[in-house]
Amino acid sequence: MRTAVLKFPGTTCEEDVVKALRLVKAEAEVVKFNSFDPDRYQGVVIPGGFSFGDYLRAGTIAANSEAMKGVREMADQGKLVLGICNGFQILVESGILKGALLPNLKLRFITKWTYVRVSRKDTPFTRGIKDVLLMPIAHAEGRYYLEDEEEARELAVFQYSNPSGLVVEEVNPNGSVQNVAGIANQAGNVIGLMPHPERASFSKLTPDGSTDGLEILRVFGK
């Protein structure tokens, strides 16, 4: 699938994502924010980083960009949109995904390997996938918030869990409601998540040799 990996000023993970996407044979390329043409792609990934320095709030300034209008178009057309970490923050700040990502309860940046339970398998990214994935988080503003917790649970695709998939508060790294680590839109073609699948795609980099991130990225290889 022709996939754009969108680079804003301050994006840091674009090359990492491309490297992982190549493993699943996606036709991926880095596209700068000011030369993004949504019609040329079937899928788009907004990678992690600190777009516009994350000034004011993570993702806010990028959410205002022309490029995000293009992403919204793709989302509306049912094309695949994946926001990772800062990409998730941008999707939320632009209103393409619902809710908000607030500063971690610990008020600091946290890097940590986390287990997430896959709570929705009705999205193109998660169809037929394993129940529990191991991926690292690395963020300062990842506390997912939505007033209606019931709705949050319905939108949730990934929830921080223990290794056997139980969603328990002790493993919640940032204070998200319902341990939400990632959500999708109603249709399921737009997903945002705080953990980094691209960092869980190379066995030599993971604590147990797993490559769970590839499971999510695989859809771009089709």
Binding site: T60, N64, E93, L105, Y145, L146, E147
Partner: protein, 89 residues
Amino acid sequence: MYAVELIIVNKDGVRDPEGETIKRFVIEEQYSGIIGEVKAGKYVRFLVEAKSKDEAESLVKRIAEEKRLFNPIVHKIIVRSERVEDGSP
């Protein structure tokens, strides 16, 4: 010229760990009972050319909404302004 302040704080009911942390410090010390709620937020100050206070404030409100300087799901904003000569606060 008007100095317009945009204050962005969490809505009531949304946890505010920063405010909580400051409060925790304060209570550990000698100020419990004196200091009630502590709320932390973001402050942005714009210097605006406008004919009136009203015009200045509504411009900043509009920008805050259009550019989503706050996220209405979690934040509320307070907008205030005063007339200034040279712009120094």
